[in-house]
Symmetry: C2
Subunit: 343 residues, 2 copies
């Protein structure tokens, strides 16, 4: 027969305090003064008190499930983020349920509702192209369900964001192209309503200015960054007069298809046009020449996002004071941009 | 003011039958005889009766949500399947919630439970590497929640499977390599407990036999089909004596990394080793030489899977009699295998 479990009632009786005071002290409630807290936690330890996680979960109606909304599942970057999320969720006995907004704000709203009805304990969101309001997340905020944005984020007073410094990463990539001798650098970007693309454009622009090159908006093309957009951009580049001698692309899959189309047209990479992409997709090491790119720590972003959310749920670490977490990214120079000039 | 809606009670009163009989007849219940059904449906049509879908959904506790369990999200093939599923689900106002088993039966069991508690109306499953039992799906079968397996399937009397003819596709790919002059063809495969890999191996074996070549099990290597496994396989291939002159790989990402490693070691593709992969991933058109592969209709598989499930849920088409749906695949011959010999 097992030893009877110590309850807050046992502790309260021993200390001649109310069970409510004991409970509040053990949950670090601000209404209980420090000395009383010390007294109660010491007694609890002495009596071998264990938090009844299961009962607490029932009371809190926990499902040990986290919801995820991503724009699309068909990118290497997103699959590494999700792999990182699953790893940490698994270790903490949480399950993920994942939905795609397919870049549509309307579908993002429907997903938020579905996941709310699935009673997720927390929500992780990377926004769709055209999301402009966050009204659909207010039900979560009101119910105290923590909400965390990653990669494609939006300023929200009550939510935390996890990002990389997109502007700085783009600045480095374009500075590298300029150091390799490029003087007319084009930029392929995505929907500029999203922070990641707006910030990469800002970094591109700042690098030009910092190195005394003019910013020419006719060299910036907004696309959906698909492989098809890369093929189209190859035709566009060849018709610009004079042809740019460098291109910074906001993702790798678009950069790779652009390189392939240019090679087929007889353009030499990097001699005529040097290329830099973004994300460090595996395809960047398959294309010839290998693509210079920015390593985006997707796995780490996913791990930190879920760890932060679960710590918050378990009361180990509050998200309330944290506005933004910024992770490090890294430029990886490869043959697509290296013309043998040192930085 | 709108016209008052006709109810089953109105129809029952007109025909002097019980409302239960009318309801059963309109839902094609087997306990009602054919003549009564004809009488009731004609009267219902005459009186302008409309099924109250919303009320029926409430009664049936529909959530308009479908659950999906996939092994991993990080493959092009799976993202095309999911894109097809989302397309059809969207059009029918259903939402998908997606989970990954990460190739673990244990996690697949946890996912099945999570999705059950999320009250999905139907479940779509592609099995993990090590799933050997289907006990965890019985709660669905018992509750009458339809269950559909796709790609990686398991025989189950009450469930429908959607697949391609993996054996035939592999037979064609290996026959093509033999027609190009290969006489010693190796095969890289995945976990043979899964139908897709077992069937591709069977097709490989049948093609060798059909063309008078011996089956040599030392030329078959079981891996996890990751890019890393492809790099390792390149070293293995070079140590086989004599070196194989053809390789059939059960997926493209593994084949591509194997080709890259062999090229770095100075092996000529296709002259020394001809290659064929599987799936028609975009990376098959990036690697040089471009990879011969089997086009796997993932988008179509996803579309048909969800269409079939929703038709079943709406009573338009019953799954009860359908055991298996087989889709067409197609061999795409490219430079990685073509030595200039015609088939």
């Amino acid at each position: 027969m097992g030893k009877k479990e110590t309850t807050i009632y046992d502790i309260a009786r021993q200390l001649n305090l109310s069970p409510a005071t004991v409970s509040r002290a053990l949950h670090d409630h601000p209404a209980i003064n420090r000395n009383t807290k010390v007294l109660i936690t010491q007694k609890a330890k002495e009596m071998g008190y264990r938090t009844n996680t299961f009962a607490r979960n029932l009371r809190r109606q926990r499902t040990n499930t986290l919801g995820v909304i991503v724009p699309r599942l068909n990118s290497y970057f997103m699959s590494t983020v999700l792999a990182g999320m699953e790893k940490v969720a698994n270790e903490a006995a949480y399950n993920l349920i994942i939905t795609q907004s397919l870049e549509s704000a309307q579908k993002e709203i429907a997903n938020a509702k579905t996941l709310f009805n699935s009673r997720v304990d927390g929500l992780l969101v990377s926004l769709a192209y055209d999301t402009e309001e966050t009204e659909h997340f207010e039900t979560y905020v009101k119910k105290g369900i923590p909400l965390l944005f990653f990669d494609r984020v939006l300023a929200h007073k009550q939510c935390t964001s996890i990002v990389i410094n997109n502007e700085e990463a783009a600045f480095e990539a374009v500075t590298h192209l300029i150091a390799q001798g490029c003087r007319r650098v084009a930029h392929l970007t995505g929907d500029l309503r999203r922070n990641v693309y707006a910030e990469r454009l800002a970094g591109y622009r700042r690098a030009l200015t910092a190195h005394g090159l003019p910013y020419d908006e006719t060299l910036v093309r907004t696309t959906d960054l698909s492989p098809e957009a890369g093929t189209e951009a190859a035709a566009w580049l060849q018709h610009l007069a004079p042809m740019p001698d460098g291109v910074f692309v906001a993702n790798d899959s678009c950069a790779v298809s652009c390189i392939i189309a240019l090679k087929q047209a007889g353009v030499q990479i990097p001699e005529q046009i040097a290329f830099a992409g973004f994300n460090n997709d595996p395809v960047s090491r398959v294309v010839e020449p290998n693509l210079t790119t920015v390593h985006y720590p997707g796995q780490q972003m996913g791990e930190i996002a879920v760890k932060t959310l679960i710590n918050h749920l378990n009361g180990k670490e509050s998200l309330d004071a944290t506005n933004t977490i910024i992770l490090r990214s890294e430029l990886i120079a490869r043959a697509s941009s290296c013309r043998g000039k040192s930085l």
